[in-house]
Symmetry: C2
Subunit: 110 residues, 2 copies
């Protein structure tokens, strides 16, 4: 694809969603934009990736969705990080840090 942006690595999406929601509840469409903004336009999550992921992590109890209205009165489903989700976010961030460290180690190895 020779994408100038960093491609999403399989397995990081959950972490990004949880991270985005750690700034406050949001609906799906907004999550995509928040991730884009938080990453300085470098990551763009596709809807076809997001909604299944939201469903997945809601089943796991990391977020809880509730129908409501956005600021302009439109129907939207708001997702909120649960306590378990906060914990999971820490777990995934630590795991990510470990991987980054290991790859750096590999890089340095001779």
């Amino acid at each position: 694809m020779t994408n100038p942006k960093a491609d999403l690595l399989q397995g990081t999406l959950d972490m990004l969603i949880l991270k985005a929601l750690s700034l406050g509840p949001l609906h799906g469409y907004g999550i995509i934009q928040r991730i884009r903004r938080m990453s300085d336009e470098m990551l763009s999550v596709e809807q076809g990736a997001l909604y299944p992921a939201l469903y997945r992590i809601e089943l796991k109890g990391w977020v809880s969705g509730k129908w409501g209205e956005n600021e302009t009165g439109r129907k939207a489903k708001f997702y909120k990080l649960t306590r378990a989700g906060q914990k999971q976010l820490r777990v995934e961030e630590e795991s990510w840090d470990r991987l980054v460290l290991v790859v750096a180690k590999m890089r340095a190895a001779t």
Copy 2:
């Protein structure tokens, strides 16, 4: 799984294999051990992941395999990084760096 080791992230395997081979040609079984060693025993690649991956990246021309013998005289297929593979390694490392940067940015965002 609460694995103390860093889990392999889908998509990083190719880079690790190319990196391992950048230290010199090696057969499949040895690549697994080299990756383990280079990562301070923190990454372990499964055979069921490695061999398909080798096949895959050989098709792409990043490595070339040739049957030979190891130092003890046993038959083994040695993989060697091609010039295209060296280039690809740089590409993947840059892409990795970009992703690490972006995630760090996400982490810092408010």
